[in-house]
């Protein structure tokens, strides 16, 4: 068992505030809800509204977890924050996610701030750099890596930077690389989408989602290493900044 991500999540769960116990799944759900409800105004890093930095515990109207839930539910009249009536567990999950942001090690990526997204797009799509060979954006590109068309909605700049420089399968719960062998001898490497006691669902090298009965498999194993190579030293700081700027801009709509 790798305790490092768990301890990171523990820190993320807000030891300082510590009013509620938060689980990784709550934080995960909170991230999803944040992206659905909050990211448009507050941005992926939570710092797009002046005077507020949700990712670093800087709030105008709240300090405790319960305060935050109230702000989410009631809004802040006259200040542009609408009310988001939702069940308390969902609001608390968002709070869990916000607390988790504060525990991220390196804060906001500095590289991203000086990047040029159009230059980054060109680097990303350059076959020599290799990003596009594995990742798709709006229907174009390879399929062995996650589709990045909406990566700007789900990852913050710092997270993207870490994934480019130090890719690892441990951090993201979804899309872990797996290796399976069918009883007819066919070996398949792919990314895990879902699994249960009787079946597994993966995307294979062609990008096609496939479902397999466990009874038909002679082997099913998680690969220790990410299939993603590290770009440490392969991109200069400006290129890195440009690629990050491009990826952060990907929110499911065309780049203007």
């Amino acid at each position: 068992m790798n305790l490092v991500p768990i301890l990171a999540l523990l820190l993320a769960a807000g030891i300082a505030s510590a009013q509620h116990g938060y689980t990784p799944s709550e934080i995960e759900e909170g991230g999803r809800q944040y992206r659905l409800n909050c990211i448009t105004c507050h941005g992926p890093d939570g710092n797009m509204v002046s005077g507020i930095d949700l990712g670093h515990g800087k709030f105008r109207q709240a300090s405790t977890d319960d305060d935050l839930v109230k702000v989410i539910n009631l809004g802040v009249p006259g200040k542009g924050m609408p009310s988001f009536e939702m069940p308390n567990p969902r609001a608390l999950a968002i709070v869990a996610y916000l607390r988790s942001l504060a525990a991220e090690p390196a804060g906001v990526s500095q590289a991203a701030k000086s990047g040029d997204r159009m230059r980054g797009k060109a680097i990303f799509e350059n076959a020599n750099t290799g990003c596009v060979n594995c990742h798709r954006v709006r229907g174009a590109g390879g399929t062995m890596g996650p589709d990045l068309s909406e990566i700007g909605l789900s990852k913050r700049a710092i997270e993207i930077e870490m994934e480019i420089l130090k890719p690892g399968p441990g951090k993201a719960l979804e899309n872990r690389p797996v290796h399976l062998v069918r009883k007819d001898g066919t070996a398949i490497n792919g990314l895990l989408l879902n699994e249960d006691t009787f079946t597994v669902q993966i995307t294979d090298a062609t990008g096609k989602p496939t479902s397999h009965q466990r009874a038909d498999l002679s082997e099913f194993a998680f690969l220790d290493k990410s299939l993603m190579p590290s770009y440490q030293g392969k991109l200069n700081p400006q290129e890195l900044a440009d690629v990050i700027a491009y990826l952060v801009s990907l929110k499911g709509a065309p780049v203007q």
């Binding site: 068992m1 790798n2 305790l3 768990i6 301890l7 999540l9 523990l10 993320a12 769960a13 807000g14 030891i15 510590a18 009013q19 509620h20 116990g21 938060y22 689980t23 990784p24 799944s25 709550e26 934080i27 995960e28 759900e29 999803r32 319960d66 567990p89 999950a93 719960l173 979804e174 899309n175 872990r176 895990l192 989408l193 879902n194 699994e195 249960d196 006691t197 009787f198 669902q201 998680f222």
Partner: protein
Amino acid sequence: MKLFRLILVAALAALCATTSLFAQVTSDRLLKSGLEPQNWLTYSGDYAGHRHSALDQITPQNVRDLELKWVFQARSFEKYEATPIVVDGVLYTVQPPNDVIALDAATGRIFWTFNYTPSKEARVCCGRVNRGVAVADNLVIMGTIDAHLIALDAKSGKSVWNTTVGRAESGYALTHAPLVVKDKVIVGVAGGEYGIRGYIAAYDIHTGKEAWKFYTIPGPGEPGNDTWAGDSWKHGGGSVWVTGAYDPALNLTYWGIGNPGPDWNGDKRKGDNLYSDSVVALDPDTGKLKWHYQFSPHDEFDYDSVQVPVLADIEYQGQPRKVMLWANRNGMYYTLDRATGKFLVGKPFTQVNWASGFDESGRPMRVAGKVPSREGTLIYPSNQGATNWYSPSFSPKTGLFYIPAWDNTFSIYVKSEEEYVEGQRYSSGTHVSSFGPARGIQNNTRKPEDGHGAVIAIDPKTGEKKWQFNLTDVTDAGILTTDSDLLFSGSREEYFYALNARTGDLLWKTALGGAIMNGPITYSVNGKQMVAVNAGNSLYVFGLR
């Protein structure tokens, strides 16, 4: 004159007959529920908590021929945890949080609905849930999340009486199915995460008037109060949120008690904190405590002993013995003598690192340093426990005890300081767990090393595992067994499945598209055996083709 007397006697006799007809579910019927396996009269199917049925029309040979007979879709997105009750062709369920619905058990057509809107002051830690109703006399009785106990006319669904059991604003709530013993309705209060002082109370079935109250946290001058430092007993938790059991021969009712409060920092409540995390044996007529056994003294891991007490008569060390079987959230399996509370067997059924075993009295021997800390302490099993409220089953046919288990899950516990504020959470810490109370995303992407779910069969004589059926994800589903050696259960993976109760081999499964969060039941209507289970927000009923 004689003729007049005769007419009078005949009229009185007719009246009595009518009255007894209306008294649908007599105390005698509840005592002898095993004689009418076509019905499912109590939360666990009988007073002994077996969740086992003598019905045997569905067998290991024909279980593959099960097909869906009808579905009831609840108009609610809350977790659907209610065990249905079936009486003479009528099925009663609770649409969460607190709508009681009577349906035709053969077709699923609705007879009546009792809508209830709980007070906005209701606060429940872990979902606006209800686990089912009780039936007795001509009443259907439900506890509500705003701590009311409501009796309905079983024929019309109209309210007969409504009693306030606790103060909702302070966190008191009722979530479990009541237990009716003789002329009393027995319930316990939830609210262990809000600093309540828990109790079990009995109410007159005819009037709803309180008959007795047993505090699960003893007050000053009562035995056990000295197991709480200072005034900590006032907010010591000790909630009750799963239905108890009853032994008519011993005239004892048994209840599992929840965690002490605050959950994760016991510094202010030094001592064993009785009767938190215990089973208590009470006289159902008076509420007097006969005995108790504490599974987790001075708990700081939220290990509620809120499991169904399962009463069995087995041969133990060559002698017949009245025992109680208990798989605890703390990871240990127990066999206790249910007449005296004497500890007989204790054995871990999953990875446990907070205790190394038991002393002769049955007290767990703690492992040094395995307590919540400021920096975090890794504990097996996880905060959700190695099992939880999900009903186990005992089959008198196989002699085995079946546990819905979370195997090898863990939590990292961190403690903090907190002052009690009425109506607010009072837990003094946090935890990060390999599995949480619900899956955040719909896909299962957990790692094997985070643990997994299982159905585990245990020999109650020794605590030894007989077999284990592993699941990839954890499970919130209870277990049903039948005389034909079938075992039905579900999973968070949304399958409903049947195993061979003797071997654990998979016999049948179907994907229902929603997590199963209740215990399955079986009943018979028009001579056809049915199996009912909740999945997602619906109740599914299966029968043979």
